[in-house]
Subunit: 375 residues, 2 copies
Amino acid sequence: MNIALLGFGTVGKGFYDLTVGREDVKVTAVLSRRPREELTCLVSDDFHEILASDVDIVVEVMGGLHPAYEYVCEALRAGKHVVTANKWLMCEYYQELVKLAKENGVALRCTAAAGGGIPWLTNLERVARFDSIYKVEGILNGTTNFMLDAMTKNGSDYGEILAEAQRLGFAEADPTADVEGYDARRKIVLSANIAFGVDLKEADVACFGIATVSAADIAAFTERGLVCRLIASAEQAADGSITATVEPTLFPAAAAEAAIVSSGNRVVLYAKHIGEQSFSGAGAGGWPTGSSVLCDCLNILDGCRQFYTDQFTPASAAGNALRRYYIRTSAPLSVAVEESLGSGIVTAPIPAAQAHRMIAALRAEDNTAFMAALR
Amino acid sequence: MNIALLGFGTVGKGFYDLTVGREDVKVTAVLSRRPREELTCLVSDDFHEILASDVDIVVEVMGGLHPAYEYVCEALRAGKHVVTANKWLMCEYYQELVKLAKENGVALRCTAAAGGGIPWLTNLERVARFDSIYKVEGILNGTTNFMLDAMTKNGSDYGEILAEAQRLGFAEADPTADVEGYDARRKIVLSANIAFGVDLKEADVACFGIATVSAADIAAFTERGLVCRLIASAEQAADGSITATVEPTLFPAAAAEAAIVSSGNRVVLYAKHIGEQSFSGAGAGGWPTGSSVLCDCLNILDGCRQFYTDQFTPASAAGNALRRYYIRTSAPLSVAVEESLGSGIVTAPIPAAQAHRMIAALRAEDNTAFMAALR
């Protein structure tokens, strides 16, 4: 099959590398703003020239909402299959794009959009065909895991480690999307929608990142045998209501989450019949993420035309699940306290939604306030 | 599709439960020695009556080599797709059965044969399509993991914990296949053959189980911050030669392997481009294992006719990989020693094949001798 590649950044280049020498999947056109003398295929900065060339699948790895959205719509309308690694796009427009793909009888796949090289969305789709999934969660952002792991191991300051992550290419110049949890939030929205057949939006996910974690917090956790990880989670209660959160979470040092080091990812599904099943590996990087894109292409080549889900049942994201939270703030705090931990306290079990409302209010008064759920 | 189910034990019943209420996959015939009044479909103890009924897929979950082998051959020759959970059968006759399936234009799948409910073989197959896998390994036997985990947590004796595992249904009356590592060996043979496209046999895998592990060994490991797990492993060196082993292995307490508790399984693949990728979940049990069988059926329904691999390159299982080993024996030992550990010693790095020859010889003199590799 002939592939048009939109974007030649880390993922685009990684995917391209993996197709070199293959007969079944061939990159024949690349959309690029600048010339690529290393490429022998059609290279153009004109999307319409790319689309008009003889291609079967359009691979969108440019990122961002626009013009990715317009290009993907146009490709689907032109009867091209689309594979994308763009979590933002898929999180925002999943339902609409699936509808468009169906109307045009083509496939739309986005395995690389959550979990990078881990075949997470395809396995969610697989399990949803025969089992009832009630919870999905995990470490879905490599940047923050790298930072939390390094802070735990070296006792470094947040600012220090952020600078190092940027120097090493693990964090972007503007790290907001990673450290505030927005990246993980998009991935858990996609995961939850596929797992539960619902239609969550980003705004339904209570989100608190690691931007205010301190070396002293981490030291207190270590002292208590706890390890901090940024966990994106969505669980559906028996009444159908959902608790969806992105939040720092404390695990015993022997937990599987604690064993995820550097920029690794680990995601878990819980289902009625098969129980707990987890997947770990590289959540980012050109070759791993490119491999998920390639897998989507190979599945399309094999005739796969199904979507991860085409159920979009409305669901209430009430956030009722009860959890205990570590909270450290200099602002006045009014909550039932179970014990103290370092310079913070541990609350009695409270609804996740309440904890997130509370930390948002606290942070307005004390911009260093930090919170983490306990498992 | 109509399914003939050969065997109605734990896995057969689990699979059956998962098909109840489905329209796409329906059990229409069950081979059973005794009547099954709870079933409304055809139940017979006559395989030929079952095969002559209107079935599309024969699901073999009876276990053992014979008559499973004869039934599977006959089903393939009759143009039926075959799905099996039988690791012994597939380990012994994989190449021959794949050939027979091809000749008859039907599918042959066995995802449940390694890893139970974990989609391990399908993911190996997936990765092998675009990457070069050089190592597969993991915890592939739930019984021994349950025992090692319990010994670590409770300080129990081997005999005590074996009796408990038998009482709880985790171990069979004759536990040999589990505790000597033969079960894990069959699973690693299948995994290695799919991962590397080779033709290993059981005899190519050096195998040492946990039958001689003592409470004192475990206590010494714990004292040193180490956790013991039974690891089945196959790695291919740059020269193509393979080291394939089943052996107790010591990990730091913070390792992911140490976080696999009770009867859980965890398997890992290492590939050139995607790096390390791991999968964990329930390695046994009716519903999890039945779900892998069901997935194979659904894949066949979707048109999947490919085999996990159809490359069978001969490879030398030289066992050259160098590892350090803990050895505890009262027999005289002649090996370069690095340090002592509990009542045993830790060797300098030696080829795995040499360690396994040594422990076999030692065990003939001292039937309590124990060995574990260090990671």
